[in-house]
């Protein structure tokens, strides 16, 4: 139990995908500056990343490695992620049309999210236990969602702040992200 907790804390805070591994920055910047869509997108990423962590782990260890095709994993993982996002798109459109309308524009950001591909690629070498892979995928996704929501909230405030003209737009966003990364370095000794 303590192991699981440590693993989750490590994946969410200490080895945060965005702020210590610098994955998924494009979707972080592209997700826009308000909390509501960020919440939806975090939920999407948690779902897709957890599922793809599990699926990719199974594919890698029970299909690609036995056939000595480990070098194909990038291609295969992209395929799996695209499949999951397309599936979510279909199901959402039918079951929750309002949600689909709200999140539809962000689905490509999830599909082309380097955080998802990066986490599954990194985990495929490091982890050989299905359950641990699933859990660390989930933890990474929660960490991504957390940063996404925090960052969106910060940008909501930045919108009202008096920013020098030279810093406006993506410049101040990047500075903010850098400061957030500095803050997250404080978690380094936690696990």
């Amino acid at each position: 139990m303590a192991d699981i907790l440590l693993l989750l804390v490590g994946a969410i805070l200490v080895n945060n995908v965005v702020l210590t591994q610098y994955l998924g920055l494009s979707s972080l910047m592209g997700a826009g500056g308000s909390v509501q869509p960020a919440l939806g997108m975090s939920a999407l990423v948690v779902g897709v990343l957890t599922l793809s962590a599990g699926l990719n782990h199974l594919l890698y260890h029970y299909l690609l490695v036995p056939l000595e095709l480990a070098y194909l994993r990038t291609l295969v993982f992209i395929l799996v992620i695209a499949l999951l996002v397309a599936g979510v798109d279909l199901v959402l459109r039918k079951r929750e049309p309002l949600w689909h309308k709200r999140l539809g524009t962000q689905l490509p950001l999830v599909a082309a999210n380097s955080a998802i591909l990066g986490v599954t690629l990194l985990n495929s070498e490091r982890i050989d236990n299905f359950f641990i892979a699933l859990l660390s995928g989930f933890g990474a996704a929660v960490g991504f969602g957390l940063v996404l929501i925090l960052f969106a909230a910060l940008r909501e405030r930045l919108m009202l702040a008096a920013i020098p003209r030279a810093f406006q737009g993506s410049a101040i966003s990047l500075v903010t992200a850098g400061l957030m990364a500095l803050a997250f370095m404080g978690f380094a000794g936690l696990v």
Binding site: L59, L90, R95
Partner: protein, 196 residues
């Protein structure tokens, strides 16, 4: 050998993904939302709720799931006909339990009688009434759909529904008399008539 297996694995995986997606699409009916959109486009967007649904889109969803097409009084005969054509059904007469077809109207607030209670503002489904508490309200005519929903809540009865005059944006040729039109049909009309 290894190259062959690589190609084979990718092919099989891609095929598997395709099959899964096509099954999902079949199960969740990817085309149905498009149908709802097309039905919604034919409805008059008054959001009046006379059909028994809270707005036009919910009614469009209900029609897509099999509800009767003759429950929209503001759309009237014209809407029922175009819905029937879209869905391949026979056009029905308007269901009188939901109301009767009327000329298009627009709400008008007699402004010196308005007490600024904001009740009509809350009732308006399309946000066409402008005003704040204890200030006079008024209707944005171009946004008003003439749905009548603001008339009942008004405590001082200062809202009139005024029939819209025919202006050139809304003017249509009067429909030809059915008996007279019968021998003026052209070949492509016969098809529609046979289908109707």
């Amino acid at each position: 050998m290894s190259l062959l297996s690589a190609i084979l694995v990718l092919l099989v995986l891609a095929l598997g993904c395709g099959v899964v997606l096509s099954q999902l699409a079949r199960k969740f009916g990817a085309d149905e939302p498009a149908l709802v959109d097309r039905i919604d486009a034919l409805l008059p967007q008054t959001q009046c709720g006379q059909c028994g649904h809270p707005g036009c889109r919910p009614y469009a969803t209900a029609i897509a799931e099999g509800e009767a097409i003759n429950r929209c009084p503001p759309g009237g005969d014209a809407t029922i006909r175009s819905l029937a054509r879209l869905l391949g059904q026979a056009p029905l007469p308007l269901d009188p339990t939901h109301g009767k077809e009327d000329v298009r109207k627009v709400a008008y607030i007699r402004e010196n009688e308005c007490i600024g209670c904001t009740k009509c503002v809350k009732a308006c489904p399309v946000d066409a009434i402008l005003g704040a508490a204890k200030h006079m309200h008024t209707v944005i005519t171009s946004e008003c759909t003439g749905c009548d929903l603001c008339v009942a809540p008004c405590p001082v009865d200062c809202i009139d529904m005024i029939p819209l005059k025919n202006e050139h944006q809304r003017w249509h040729w009067p429909r030809p008399d059915a008996a007279e039109a019968r021998h003026q049909l052209i070949a492509s009309d016969r098809l529609h008539e046979a289908r109707a």
